[in-house]
Symmetry: C2
Subunit: 200 residues, 2 copies
DNA sequence: GAATTTCCTCAACGAAAGTAGCATTTCCAA
DNA sequence: TTGGAAATGCTACTTTCGTTGAGGAAATTC
């Protein structure tokens, strides 16, 4: 879902994104209020949110959306990069922050990353936050394994999907368990849903 | 959490419920608005909701609460028993409906049932709805097993908690899998969360 | 540029998980 | 009273999990 008050920006983005096989624009909002409403209506996988909006701004809209759905994945798409703005965006629960000067490729990869629950941030900010991380981080591979686990896939099946040996998958799973502090795949599934890594 | 606009009713109920070991009243609201606010604040396991309230009524309050948390467990506690009222209450997502003329024991068991996600309804209504059930129903025992599975308990542990043989637990689990149409405990956990049987 | 850390990879082994057949008991509804 | 659903438990068996030791590639740090 695109949120931007400028029609040209929205339609340009939409056209550009629709070229991608794996991306579909299912809603466009021109204001914060409309964004919240349309989010509840359409439940998009990713919200690309501008910050300068008429009425309630992008931060407030993000906050409202997150209140409705803790698992919502909002990528802030802002003109300027201001540290305090990023700070606030992350505090209210946005997953990532991208400036509008980003290249098409950067935008695409940011959207794809956000879709699977990864955080996307400018280099300098990401580095600064790295030290403050609370607890161990789940790697990309582990994330992939997790969603397959929640789908009831067996280790062998997961291995086939990922093109690995079954034992490799087991290793990933063991690591996930340690990071989550859980005993088995059932509990890991619950935890993954809790953390928003797997959508309900 | 208790929601009722009459102070005497609230304090009477609270005192009565506090006598129970396993029940604690952590919030009381005198209006629908207050109910929604306090729910978000305290996240009670069960909301005991009167329907006649100043401002927004109990149905609307229930609806708003459910919008914020799909897993919220609301037990309507109404003076009258009107079919259309029950209908509406269930439509907005209330788990159960109990009339105020219910005995203390009925109230207690209704609260405990609601707490584990079971529906509580007047006999005649329950019967009428039974035919409309979509798909197989999870039994009480299976529900208990499910929450333990989601907590990462092994079959042996679950057996100990329930006071059964491990094989019995396995039997229950196999039945759950069939009813859910899933392969393993991880997928069953995801499904249980989806259905609101297990809280996130 | 050496040392360290992170991520991914794989194999072997013991412990659970999951299935199936069979049987008993209780309770509720037709 | 009879049929059915729910819960219980046993035996027996196959499959899958999950742990652990070990190694390699790449990025970071010092």
């Amino acid at each position: 879902m695109l949120v931007d008050d400028h029609f040209v920006v929205r339609s340009g983005l939409a056209a550009s994104l629709e070229l991608e096989e794996d991306i579909e624009v299912i809603a466009e909002a021109a204001s914060g209020e409309e964004a919240v409403f349309l989010f509840l209506e359409k439940r998009p996988d990713v919200v690309l949110m501008d910050l300068q909006l008429p009425g309630i701004n992008g931060i407030e809209a993000t906050e409202k959306i997150l209140l409705q759905d803790r698992g919502a994945r909002v990528l802030i798409f802002s003109t300027f990069v201001r540290d305090d703005e990023i700070q606030t965006a992350l505090e209210v629960g946005a997953l990532g922050y991208l400036q509008k000067s980003a290249s098409r490729e950067e935008l695409l990869s940011a959207i794809r990353a956000t879709a699977i629950g990864e955080t996307v941030l400018p280099e300098n900010i990401a580095k600064r936050l790295k030290g403050l991380q609370s607890g161990p981080t789940i790697t990309v591979r582990e994330r992939e394994v997790l969603v397959l686990i929640a789908q009831g896939k067996a280790n062998k099946e997961i291995a086939d999907v990922l093109g690995n040996a079954e034992d490799t998958v087991k290793r990933h799973i063991s690591n996930i368990f340690k990071k989550f502090g859980v005993n088995d795949r059932a509990q890991a599934t619950a935890e993954a849903i809790r953390r928003g890594i797997v959508k309900v």
